[in-house]
């Protein structure tokens, strides 16, 4: 895909393909944050800022003052924005925003909490509500801008005001003085009604758009109330909606559903016709909700903005209450008000002094950013996963969009097409979860090997023999064969080992016989391999016989034999693993023939071993690497760093499988200081002398003898010997002993074996 094409498919391209747009309209520039001075309005010092890449839809207008609220004229051609120092009317069109006039003047210097544009009979009136409780009605008809009326009936700040949607002369207020008041603006009388919210600060009021006599109010104590203005004495319905203040209410266009938003970060949807005291739906947002507003023509969607700390405006679908369907991230400070122009265009104002007109196609879709699948691996090679059923329509979309050539016009068509007017209902989750168990790692075999391998390097011959058998037991035939080869390579060649081999011959033979006779279920596929093992076994037995007969003479003959087999040795160097095996077998025959065991001595063992270790390391079989290193000790020269890696990896694996004894054994057998140290780090056991109960501290006697009573510390209560290995003791009476002894004792007894009278059974 070419760069151009790629940008085209990117919903937010960095270089817009419609950049020629700027030449057709001087008001539209593509450069980011480019300021445009409106020459036609020379009085205006404000800047209009156009965002890059979204010039078609996002229009920003800087008002140089922090904004608190906005309202639209009934015909939606004008917007009034209120702020700390401004009260301005803006002319808003699809393409541009211009300032009509400023209402702010000398006589009015209180901050406006809210502003509302009247309707019908008051379509030329604007009402503002101030923090000092004053409501001002402005008249903007006939080019005048004068104050029509000032209402000072509230004793504290007015938080919100609302014109009745069907009777523009009715103005309702919500105040911090715990009352709501209703005026008929046709009369100059004081408030017609005062609604007592029972001494709760009122944060929001709104008329029902269907039933003009109904309004909803939001209270600081968490309640929402429904009132009928014909019954001004008492609310019709009250719901405890939120924990903490309710900051916003909004009637749905169906006239029966209310959305409320609170500082408790929830948006709750209430069916006012139902008797239930529980919300119909709950949306959990990440910030306190300052304002909510249903999206026109999308009955399931509602927009919200935060009170603090989040500059985004979210649009939620109540059917998907956890993930916002869209959000706008155009503001650089908290939005303070927003208003739907139509179902796709949203106006908003913010503390960042900017008024923005934005289109839904500028919004982001959080769902697109979230991964719809997950994978987790356990040490047992189990995969926990969640995957989503592929959505066929997505694939179709891609097919279609691929065929659209990248030109400006068509881009806009596609934008429209993508612009999500219809939300696919998603009541049921498509995601499936499961756990797949893979046969790739046999942890039982791993544990068996870990617990049964001999890792001392003293007697290589019998160790290899034993380890081969262990590997054979768990059907690790290849590993078993490796041990046999190691046995041949290292087990019989060095003089020291020869003697040992000789001495231990009985044991070794019995082991090898054992391994051939107890072949576990020999599957047909393994016949060849097992046969070769047998072969090797018989061979090695013969070796032993040879050694038995002729131990003394070996040294004398050594020199000649080396010469004789020099050629074979060369061949081995160059051959691969498989060949090497056959070679070994072949050579073994030779050995058999000549009754000489020293032929292997000059093999290039190092390169064979490094290849061998590489092979196992590649397979991730650190168990084999470490065991080989321990058995062969310093006979193998390999970078200490790698060996340490193997050790640490293997020990970690043992820990993961909770094979603590095996891990400890490996650690204490390892001669690499950093590994050996592991057993001495971060291990603190607090215990007391089991004779005098004095805490045991690291003192002169180094843990062996109690400082106070001078007795040998903590012998086994059963056999009275010092415990080497696993020691267990009762935290209550400090008596303990060998794990096995204690297990045996407490399987039938509850009390301490010392007779101290303590009931240890629950603690040991």
């Amino acid at each position: 895909m070419s760069d151009h094409l790629k940008n085209f498919f990117d919903p937010r391209p960095s270089t817009p393909p419609w950049s020629n747009f700027s030449t057709t309209n001087p008001h539209f520039t593509i450069a980011a944050n480019h300021t445009w001075n409106d020459t036609s309005h020379s009085s205006s010092k404000e800047n209009q800022i156009l965002e890059k890449a979204s010039a078609i839809f996002v229009i920003k207008h800087n008002l140089n003052s922090s904004l608190t609220a906005l309202s639209a004229s009934p015909d939606h051609n004008h917007i009034v924005v209120a702020g700390r120092e401004v009260l301005k009317v803006l002319n808003v069109s699809e393409r541009e925003i211009t300032e009509e006039f400023n209402l702010k003047n000398r006589s009015f210097n209180k901050v406006s909490n809210d502003v509302k544009w009247g309707n019908i009979s008051t379509k030329n009136k604007i009402a503002t509500a101030a923090t000092n409780g004053t409501i001002v009605i402005w008249d903007i008809g006939n080019g005048r801008t004068k104050i029509d009326r000032k209402i000072d009936e509230h004793s504290r700040a007015v938080n919100r005001i609302c014109f009745n949607p069907t009777n523009g002369s009715m103005l309702l207020s919500a105040s911090q003085d715990c009352t709501m008041k209703l005026w008929d603006l046709r009369e100059s009388d004081p408030a017609k009604f005062t609604f007592e919210g029972k001494c709760e600060n009122v944060r929001d009021v709104q008329f029902n758009s269907i039933n003009q006599n109904e309004f909803a109010a939001a209270f600081e104590n968490g309640a929402i109330q429904k009132w009928d203005i014909r019954k001004p004495s008492i609310h019709e319905r009250k719901l405890n909606a939120h924990i903490g203040p309710v900051l916003a209410v909004d009637w749905h266009s169906d006239g029966r559903t209310i959305a409320s938003g609170g500082r408790d970060k929830f948006i709750k949807i209430w069916d006012m016709n139902s008797d239930s005291r529980n919300p119909r739906d709950i949306i959990g947002s990440m910030t306190s909700i300052a304002r909510v507003q249903w999206r026109p023509n999308h009955p399931n969607e509602i927009a919200s903005c935060a009170l603090l700390s989040d500059n985004r405006i979210f649009i939620w679908n109540i059917r998907r209450p956890f993930i916002a369907s869209y959000y706008f991230a155009e503001h650089e400070d908290v939005p303070t008000g927003f208003l739907w122009h139509d179902s796709d265009v949203l106006w908003s104002c913010s503390k960042d002094k900017i008024f923005i007109q934005q289109h839904m196609s500028d919004s982001y879709r959080p769902l697109d950013l979230l991964s719809k699948c997950s994978i987790g691996w356990s040490v047992y090679d189990k995969i926990a996963f969640s995957i989503e059923k592929p959505n066929d329509s997505i694939a179709e979309d891609q097919q279609v969009s691929r065929s659209i050539p990248p030109s400006g016009n068509q881009f806009r068509i596609m934008q429209k097409r993508i612009s999500p007017n219809i939300i696919e209902p998603r009541n049921e989750l498509q995601q499936k979860t499961g756990i797949a168990s893979l046969p790739t790692f046999d942890h039982k075999a791993f544990s068996y090997l870990a617990e049964n391998y001999i890792i001392s390097s003293r007697d290589i011959w019998s160790v290899c023999e034993h380890n081969a058998k262990i590997a054979w037991d768990v059907q690790r035939f290849r590993t078993a064969q490796t041990w046999k080869i190691i046995q041949l390579l290292y087990g019989i060649l060095e003089p020291v080992d020869k003697n040992t081999t000789y001495n231990d011959k009985e044991g070794t033979n019995s082991l090898s016989k054992d391994s051939t006779s107890t072949n576990p279920d020999k599957s047909s596929g393994e016949i060849k391999e097992s046969d070769s093992i047998k072969d090797l076994n018989t061979l090695t037995e013969k070796h032993d016989e040879a050694l038995d007969d002729d131990v003394e003479s070996v040294d004398d003959n050594e020199y000649d034999e080396e010469e004789e087999f020099g050629q074979v040795e060369d061949r081995i160097k160059d051959s691969g693993v498989q060949q090497r095996r056959t070679t070994i077998k072949m050579k073994s025959h030779t050995v058999q023939a000549t009754y000489n065991s020293t032929l292997c001595q000059n093999w290039d063992k190092e390169s064979i071993m490094s290849q061998l270790l590489d092979y196992y390391a590649e397979q991730g079989d650190v168990q084999m690497c470490v065991t080989l290193m321990l058995v062969l000790g310093d006979r193998i020269k390999i970078s200490q760093e790698r060996v340490e890696q193997w050790f640490f990896s293997y020990i970690e694996l043992l820990h993961r499988f909770q094979l603590w004894c095996a891990a400890t054994y490996i650690i204490s057998s390892c001669r690499i200081p950093s590994v050996e140290m592991m057993n001495q780090q971060s291990t603190t056991i607090y215990t007391t002398c089991n004779n005098c109960f004095r805490p045991i501290l690291n003192s002169r006697c180094r843990y062996w003898i109690c400082d106070k009573c001078r007795k040998m510390l903590n012998p086994c209560s059963i056999c009275h010997n010092t415990v080497k290995g696993l020691y267990t003791w009762c935290q209550g009476c400090s008596h303990g002993g060998h794990l096995a002894h204690m297990k045996e004792w407490f399987s039938v007894n509850d009390e301490c074996p010392t007779g101290c009278g303590h009931n240890c059974s629950g603690r040991i």
Binding site: M1, K6, R12, K265, G284, S285, M286, F322, I323, A329, Y364, P366, L369, L370, S371, C373, S374, I375, G376, W377, S378, V379, D381, K382, I383, A384, F385, S386, I387, E388, K389, P390, N391, I394, L429, Q431, K432, T433, G434, I435, A436, S437, L438, T440, G576, D614, A617, E618, Q619, G620, V622, C625, R642, E644, Q645, S649, R656, F657, Q658, S682
Partner: protein, 330 residues
């Protein structure tokens, strides 16, 4: 090979699953703002829910389990811009919703926290995080016994060119991910999927404890959605896998040389044919799994050199069939 379906009981998408060190239990995180811990029950031979709680105010994107030497500790990060640290309270009853106590809340990020990862345990109790603001943050609990106190050790802008002039970022355009180098024989390293740069880059902690941008894993044609550094297990080279929005899974082989790594792309797999979201190595670094929008988990293994097979082969597919539950093809 068998697949055992289980009902996650989450009310929205699950975004991450993490097993504990021993593979005995795992935790799932979801957009429904909850974390759920599951344990294998020998009695029923099934995975059972042992606790579930509301952990965040928004979608939980990642969850990680600390090494058990630091106790039973879970970290989670969310779209709500916070990282939270949870510790198990063993005296609380299972499924009481109280078993995991919030010990700390890290709120330094200026965008949603998109990935977190605990450092290998030999580096201490450290947590790396990357947020939509394009900043790598490394936290450390200097006093391991005090999980309430985390120190912000480092803050690194991952966009090399933009670091002097932090951009007015658009959160939604960026997607970051990270993974620690598991090796203890090199200076600490993290590989980071660098959002709009459409690549992944290795950051290395130098002698002066400064994180420096180093090798780039390039070749991506779109956002890198996930990276995973394979467990090394004493191999002579490193492997890093990436999942990209450009439909591909890539595997890079890193060979040490005197001033760092020689990076080689060893696999470029487009079997998913849709956006790939996750890549994850198994514990020994021998099998790679990847998952994408095609609704399949694919398993990859290196070809056997002895048999002259080059590169990585698909060895299995876990998929979600329409009729039956979950099936696995081989």
């Amino acid at each position: 090979m068998s697949v055992q379906p289980f009902d996650s009981l989450h009310e929205d998408l699950i975004h991450d699953v993490a097993y504990d060190f021993y593979g005995k239990r795992f935790v799932t995180c979801s957009s429904d703002q909850k974390l759920k811990v599951w344990e294998f029950s020998q009695d029923t031979n099934n995975w059972e829910l042992v606790d579930s709680w509301k952990a965040h105010e928004s979608s939980i994107l990642k969850v990680a389990w600390a090494h058990p030497e630091f106790g039973q500790v879970i970290a989670s990060c969310s779209f709500d811009r916070s990282i939270r640290i949870w510790e198990e309270q063993e005296h609380e009853l299972k499924n009481s919703g109280k078993r995991w106590l919030e010990k700390a809340r890290l709120i330094e990020s200026k965008g949603s926290v998109q990935d977190i990862a605990f450092a290998p345990n030999f580096l201490g109790l450290r947590l790396a995080s990357i947020a939509a603001d394009g900043v790598l943050r490394i936290f450390e609990a200097l006093e391991v016994s005090n999980l309430a106190h985390w120190t912000l050790m480092d803050e690194v802008h991952v966009h090399v060119s933009r670091s002097s002039n932090p951009p007015a970022f658009k959160e939604a355009e960026e997607n970051y991910c990270l993974s620690w180098c598991p090796s203890r024989y090199q200076s600490p390293m993290i590989v980071i999927g660098c959002g709009k740069e459409n690549n992944a880059r290795i950051f290395r902690c130098d002698q002066n404890n400064k994180w420096r941008p180093c090798e780039v894993l390039d070749g991506h044609e779109d956002l890198v959605n996930d990276v995973d550094w394979a467990p090394n297990m004493g191999r002579s080279y490193h492997l890093i896998a990436t999942a990209s929005k450009d439909h591909r899974v890539r595997i890079y082989k890193l060979l040490s040389n005197k001033d760092g790594f020689k990076v080689e792309l060893v696999a470029d797999l487009n079997d998913h044919r849709t956006e790939v979201w996750k890549v994850k190595w198994n514990v020994t670094g021998t099998i790679l799994s990847s998952a994408g929008d095609d609704g399949k988990v694919r398993l990859w293994k290196a070809g056997n050199k002895a048999e002259n097979e080059e590169g990585f082969k698909c060895i299995g597919i876990v998929c979600n069939d329409r009729q039956s539950n979950d099936t696995m093809e081989i």
